[in-house]
């Protein structure tokens, strides 16, 4: 709760965030980074500097509109993988931290949740493979789906379904 409050205060005291043009990646404090994405609406992450999971708020300019929460943050290949979940999508964003400056690398939706009760988790495996673990309510067996994430081509392709 304190974290959310902090970020709200931060938003209101930093007009640069809400008047952002196109894409801005900005480290805001030693502890948090606010990521503002595209003009008109933005995705705001509270990202712990050390890559530990925290709650997040995804919202558009005009007040609370669309929320997501960070499900997990993984560090692999010097990149920060932030996995989020909203009512519609399980997705991810990849950041890199160079000289105290955050850089957005890529991101994408991975699983349309369709307001289902599916519980989805992701793990980064060797070679940049994102592996999804999915459990539907009532099912004890987790389904897994793997995605290959290629930094050069910025392509995710589904590798296999089990």
């Amino acid at each position: 709760m304190k974290l959310k409050f902090f970020v709200w205060i931060f938003i209101f005291l930093n007009p640069c965030l809400t008047s952002a043009q196109d894409t801005i990646y900005q480290k805001t404090t030693n502890t948090f980074v606010a990521v503002v994405v595209t003009k008109g609406h933005h995705l705001l992450f509270m990202l712990n500097y050390k890559g530990i999971t925290y709650d997040s708020i995804m919202r558009y300019d005009y007040g609370a509109y669309y929320k997501a929460r960070i499900k997990d943050i993984e560090i692999a290949n010097d990149h920060y993988y932030v996995f989020y979940e909203s009512v519609d999508w399980f997705g991810f964003v990849v950041f890199k931290l160079d000289s105290d400056q955050w850089t957005h690398v890529m991101g994408g939706p991975l699983r349309y949740l369709a307001r289902s009760s599916a519980k989805v988790e992701a793990k980064i495996e060797e070679g940049g493979i994102i592996k999804l673990y999915e459990t539907e309510q009532g099912e004890t067996q987790a389904k897994t789906t793997t995605y290959l994430l290629d930094f050069v081509n910025k392509v995710i392709s589904k590798q296999s379904d089990k």
Binding site: T38, L43, M106, G108
Partner: protein, 536 residues
């Protein structure tokens, strides 16, 4: 004469002395109330005993299968539990006492005697009776008959074996008594002239339902409390329903003894997983619970009514054609699907944002938002995902593309017209659709003008594949929004929906999904048949 006066004085003195002796004896030897248990009724049994469980995920039963310790004296004060009966029955109440001055805890009472068992011969010298009194201490007319109490196993402990009250709860009348008080008294005798002294007053919540609950299984405490407190003193089924729904209509329904309004889609990122009534009634700290979807709200009112013995039905609402899908979603028929795909191809430029469709009606290369169709996102090129799936129609036949329909709950600004695309954003907010090279292909605008206020939420999510309503009698209720009753489907549609269409997802160049809706038709009285109702 003087002699007679002296004799009378002596007699009076003797009587006074006897009285004093009796009072002193009572004060040193009397009974003090330790525990009160409510039992299922004698005549009507389990059918008239309403079982209660804690709200939320734990579901721990508050009441027992056939009795509840409703009042227990402890060193830190009385512990109380609610009890509930069905109207028309006589509650059955038992109690445990300790001898005045004894330092005995409730555990010494042990298990109470089954009132259905043969009477004990281990009677004590004490008699006990109970009077149900109001908040002013005045008798209500309901009482527990005087009878001899039995000795318990522990020394100095006595039991008033559960007994039915002298009068029954009025048949059909709902009651909520926040403090059901029983004044307990003891005496040495059943003689009409016997002195009765107070042993204590028990106090607990007591509920009386309109009729027998639909199911004998325990009900969430809030479901019982809400029904009885709102419909208190009602005797007619229609009044019970009306009073209960009045509370839903406030859009601020609360858990028992809680101050917060339960929410409808209050925290969407959590609500998605909150599918059940137990999630809606869970009060764990944080934003995760006390929140539910339409299904949970329909189950909620169903459960509140079921405790009162009232039965309605959940109603599933979808748009367009359920026959081609699995019966739980609405889909476009082939003509509408072709129209939609054609419009989408034109609008979003099929060269850059979606592939040229290999079939105008059932394309197999159309990216969809289900798990198995988002390959190559967010790579170059394809950036639109359609709301659909590949499936076989009900009854068999070849697989085909199903475009899943949506309807849009008020309020939206679709003034740009029908068969148009709008962003799921606040009204007027631009959403730029870009080709991979950054060129803006289209700019569409947000159309959400603020949702229809719903339970605990002034502006909930408002585009859905389906919605769950509740039908009671011949009328429809929408408990999620506290709206209704609606006399028919058309009334609900016109009062609740802005338009019909479907959903798309545009993945922007940074890989973030943005929701877009395609409005095929705005709602009007002539097209309310677009919505299909299915009784669950």
């Amino acid at each position: 004469m003087k002699k007679h006066i002296s004799c009378l004085a002596l007699l009076n003195l003797t009587i006074i002395c006897m009285g004093l002796t009796s009072t002193i004896s009572a004060q040193t030897e009397g009974l003090t109330l330790v525990r009160v248990e409510f039992w299922q009724p004698k005549e009507s049994g389990a059918d008239y005993w309403v079982r209660i469980k804690e709200d939320g995920l734990s579901g721990i039963e508050i009441s027992g299968a056939n009795k509840t310790k409703a009042w227990v004296s402890t060193a830190s004060g009385a512990v109380q539990k609610p009890v509930a009966y069905v109207s028309g029955c006589k509650p059955r109440i038992g109690a445990c006492f300790k001898q005045l001055g004894e330092d005995i805890e409730e555990t010494a009472c042990g298990d109470s005697t089954d009132p259905n068992a043969p009477p004990s011969a281990n009677y004590s010298k004490f008699y006990v009776r109970g009077k149900v009194v109001d908040q002013g201490g005045q008798p209500t007319g309901m009482s527990l008959p005087a009878k001899q109490v039995v000795k318990a196993v522990a020394d100095g402990v006595y039991e008033y074996v559960a007994e039915s009250t002298t009068t029954a709860f009025s048949k059909g009348k709902v009651r909520y008594i926040d403090k059901f008080r029983v004044k307990w008294e003891w005496s040495y005798s059943l003689s009409p002239t016997a002195t009765w002294l107070e042993a204590g007053i028990s106090e607990n919540r007591l509920y009386v339902t309109h009729k027998k609950p639909i199911s004998p299984t325990p009900y969430f405490y809030t479901c019982l409390h809400l029904g009885c407190s709102e419909a208190n003193n009602m005797t007619q089924e229609s009044s019970v329903m009306s009073k209960i729904y009045n509370q839903f209509a406030t859009k601020c329904v609360k858990r028992v003894d809680d101050a917060d309004c339960l929410k409808y889609w209050g925290s969407p990122e959590w609500t998605r997983e909150n599918r059940d009534l137990k999630h809606l009634l869970e009060n764990a700290s944080g934003d995760k619970y006390e929140d539910g979807r339409c299904g949970a709200w329909a189950v909620f009112i169903d459960s509140v009514l079921a405790v009162q013995g009232l039965k309605g039905n959940q109603v599933n609402a979808i748009a367009y054609d359920p026959a081609n899908a699995d019966g739980t979603i609405g889909v476009f028929d082939d003509n509408l699907k072709e129209t939609f795909l054609s419009k989408a191809s034109q609008f979003f430029n099929n060269v850059t944002l979606l592939p040229p469709l290999n079939d105008p009606v059932n394309p197999t290369n159309l990216p969809m938002d289900n798990l198995y169709s988002i390959n190559h996102l967010p790579g170059e090129g394809v950036r639109l995902l359609f709301h659909g799936r590949i499936a076989s129609p009900i009854g068999g036949g070849p697989t085909k593309l199903l475009i899943v329909s949506q309807f849009f709950v008020k309020n939206w600004d679709f003034s740009a017209g029908e068969q148009k695309f709008y962003a799921v954003l606040p009204q007027g907010l631009p959403l730029e659709i870009k080709a991979p090279n950054g060129t803006i292909v289209q700019t569409i605008h947000g159309a959400d003008t603020g949702g229809e206020p719903a339970q605990g939420n002034p502006d909930p999510t408002s585009n859905f594949d389906d919605h769950v309503l509740y039908k009671y009698g011949s009328k429809y209720y929408d408990p999620s929004y506290g709206s209704g009753p609606f006399t028919d489907k058309a009334s609900w549609v016109m009062g609740s929906l802005s338009a019909y269409g479907t959903l798309l997802t545009y993945v922007n160049t940074l890989g973030f999904p943005n929701s877009i809706v395609w409005v095929y038709q705005k709602t009007k009285t002539s097209n309310t048949e677009t919505i299909k109702f299915t009784i669950k």
